[in-house]
């Protein structure tokens, strides 16, 4: 490709053909990111529909296309869950941020396998298109994102083959992306960039990619057997003919609990980048922070039975996994304490990325502390599949993750887009999101714990306190939605915002010090990249180094 003058916002200068055939990691990352954001919006709208339904007893949604309002709710619920988890929570990071940032943080020109990278995106795009097909009434998928048999083999559940195909394409994309990231980080680091000199964001992407590589095969295996059971006459999950429905749950959760860490570890990576930069201090305990990332990834694979504490597994297994699940609290606790310690004697700037990072850490603290009862098997027997679980995982995956993604969007927006966002809109968005989310999910947890309300219910007994609590949640959801909308507006409006300076945060990290603003086609201003012996991505005390 001919080297052209880099426009201020390079994305707008690219032709459609360039977008379709690009192998440039920044463009591939942007494709993932925009797709992810669009589906995030759809999932948010589905979420508001859920709130509309739950704001009063009775079935609010209409009967359509020969299906009941309850069926419509179940489709919306399935769509909300699957899209928020696999399109937003995973691919905003492993597809989006990682693609754009990892080569820039390690001094590379691109990812190790640019064509594989593009292939991964288009598999993801294929899954995205198939998801749109579920909008057709005959194709409603109502088996939740989890797809448990025997229900998922039942006609009431909707199209099994569509579900299976979507998951397989997602798995292909995840595997391609992860192979690429691991190889890139291992092989393409600039000279002098040892493992203890990497940005923690890079370590978090490495850990997330390794989790994907170990976990995705179990998910793909699980859904492949679903396909053969339904269409080819095998009976892996059919208990009437010797199969076992719990086999599916074991395979699914073996991947799907660690996938939680694929979703949250990159948010932790962003928190570390932003809190360190905006406190003007090295991240406290870099080595223990790095090790905690990998400890979480490893321990995460020994916890999956906690999703099955009431499934009929033997009692001793429930107790064993109760302990292993609780142990995740130790490395995650280390991260919380180290972030707080990073603030100590810092010089803290309260700009929008920092607010979202601090808010995200707060949400994760609450999400983590409320994760403990789900791991204590004696409590889980009373709260499994209640609204408490829903509130808990929305604190972590809905909010800590989303605050991390928004913090990252604001932090790197000047470098990637080349423009400054509006601080006013950013801060307003932050406060609305923080307040709205806490109203929404706190009372959701309260309903599940104190009231025992089950989840996945479009209708519920007309108990006055339940109605009030449901309506409070809806108020919180609306406030949260307005906050999210303000950020989306901010990012769109700021495409024409004031030009960003090269390194507005005065960070020593490579992506801030050695690239153009916005980043040019070849990433760095000169090659080869060599980092000084005394350099570190969080070495603010040395002043920042610009190597031109």
């Amino acid at each position: 490709m001919a080297v052209a003058h880099t426009p201020s916002v390079p994305w707008f200068g690219a032709t459609l053909k360039e977008w379709l055939f690009t192998t440039d990691h920044k463009k591939v990352g942007m494709l993932y990111l925009v797709t992810s954001l669009l589906y995030f919006i759809v999932a948010g709208i589905f979420g508001l529909i859920i709130r509309y339904e739950q704001s009063a007893p009775g079935i609010q949604l209409p009967s359509l296309f020969g299906q009941t309002g309850a069926d419509l709710y179940n489709y919306i619920l399935t769509g909300h869950g699957a899209v928020i988890l696999l399109w937003w929570a995973v691919n905003v990071w492993v597809g989006g941020f990682a693609n754009i940032l990892v080569p820039l943080m390690i001094g590379a020109k691109d990812v190790a396998f640019p064509r594989l990278n593009a292939f991964g995106y288009w598999s993801f795009f294929g899954a995205s298109v198939l998801v749109l097909l579920t909008l057709l009434p005959n194709n409603w998928i109502k088996m939740l994102w989890t797809g448990y048999p025997p229900y998922s083999l039942n006609e009431n559940a909707g199209s099994t083959i569509l579900y299976v195909t979507i998951v397989l394409l997602y798995g292909i994309s995840s595997t391609a992306g992860s192979v690429n990231m691991v190889t890139t980080i291992v092989s393409l680091r600039a000279k002098g960039l040892g493992w203890t000199k990497l940005n923690l964001f890079v370590h978090s992407i490495m850990a997330a990619s390794l989790i994907n590589l170990f976990g995705v095969p179990a998910l793909m295996g699980a859904v492949l057997l679903l396909f053969t059971d339904k269409y080819l006459g095998t009976n892996f999950y059919n208990p009437m003919l010797g199969g076992d429905p719990l086999l599916y749950q074991n395979l699914l959760w073996f991947y799907s609990h660690p996938v939680v860490y694929i979703m949250i570890l990159p948010a932790f990576g962003v928190f570390s980048e932003v809190i360190s930069t905006m406190s003007r201090k090295p991240i406290f305990g870099y080595i223990s922070m790095m090790l905690a990332i990998y400890a979480i990834a490893v321990v995460g694979f020994f916890t999956w039975i906690h999703h099955m504490f009431v499934s009929g597994v033997p009692d001793w297994i429930r107790v064993l996994f109760s302990y292993t699940t609780l142990f995740v609290a130790v490395p995650t606790g280390i991260k919380i304490f180290n972030w707080v310690a990073t603030l100590h004697r810092g010089a803290i700037r309260y700009n929008t990325p920092m607010l979202f990072t601090l808010g995200g850490i707060l949400m994760f603290l609450i999400g983590g502390l409320t994760g403990i009862p789900n791991a204590m098997v004696s409590i889980d027997l009373g709260i499994s599949d209640s609204l408490f679980v829903v509130g808990h995982f929305h604190y972590v995956l809905g909010m800590a993750l989303t605050f991390g993604a928004f913090s990252g969007m604001y932090y790197w927006y000047p470098k990637i887009i080349g423009r400054m966002y509006s601080e006013t809109l950013g801060k307003l968005s932050f406060w609305l999101m923080l307040i709205g989310a806490n109203i929404f999910y706190f009372f959701q947890m309260y309903m599940g714990m104190a009231e025992g309300m089950p989840r996945r219910y479009p209708d519920y007994p007309p108990i006055p306190e339940w109605i009030t609590l449901m309506q409070i949640q809806t108020v919180g959801a609306v406030i949260l939605s307005v906050g999210i909308l303000l950020s989306l507006i901010n990012w769109i409006k700021s495409l024409r915002g004031p030009k960003a300076e090269d390194n507005p945060w005065k960070s020593p990290s490579l992506e801030w010090t050695m690239t153009d603003t916005p980043v040019g086609p070849h990433n760095f201003k000169k090659y080869p990249i060599e980092v000084p012996e005394d350099w570190h991505p969080y070495a603010y005390y040395k002043g920042y180094h610009v190597h031109v």
Partner: protein, 234 residues
Amino acid sequence: MRYMLLPLILPLTHVLASEPLAYPRVYWENSVKVWLVVAIAIYILVAIPSIYFAIKYRYRPGQHEEGEHIEGNTALEIVWTVIPTIIVLFLGTYSFANFVKQRNAPEGAMELKVTAFMWGWEVEYPNGKKIFAFFNPDGFTAPEDQKVYIPAGKPVKVYLTSRDVIHSFFVHPARITEDAVPGRITHTWFQINKPGEYFVFCREYCGTWHSHMFAILKVVPEGEFNRWLGVTTQ
């Protein structure tokens, strides 16, 4: 944020002040209380220094523009690794002690066989009497002959299975859940001390009428229960 936790504490305190409404709810509540105390303590322990640092170490142009170069502290790292590990072991063990009680029905418990189906419950009593609790798409009430009679103050052991897909038997007043899995027999137990009507909900998603797959437990004094159970056999 802390004040919002109060609504969670008060109801639990109130319940424990009187005779326990139900078992094994008591064991669940024991664990919830311990978890809540630990969670609030940790929350405060993190929140106080965070807020203090956030205020004290704010950037001030000209006066306070750079943070100090502090890379870590090994002793501190050890402290906040070992102490959480101890807390985790304590919580796990406390939970285990309560779990044993939740999983083992007292001797002499009445045994019910419950078969779940889309979308209802078939309940079989020791003498062979059966009750069918079918879903009601129009609300959360049940005809009298679909109510599941239970003797007040007596333990009930429930064996569960399913005729079609996975369902989950949640005894709302007892705060106990166990899945009904086709091809397996699972079990749980409960005891409700106060006569009245209570919900059983299905907690495992099972399709269109999942939210209406409930049963009403009609808890009556033992004598009344025996008459209800016995009349049919005569």
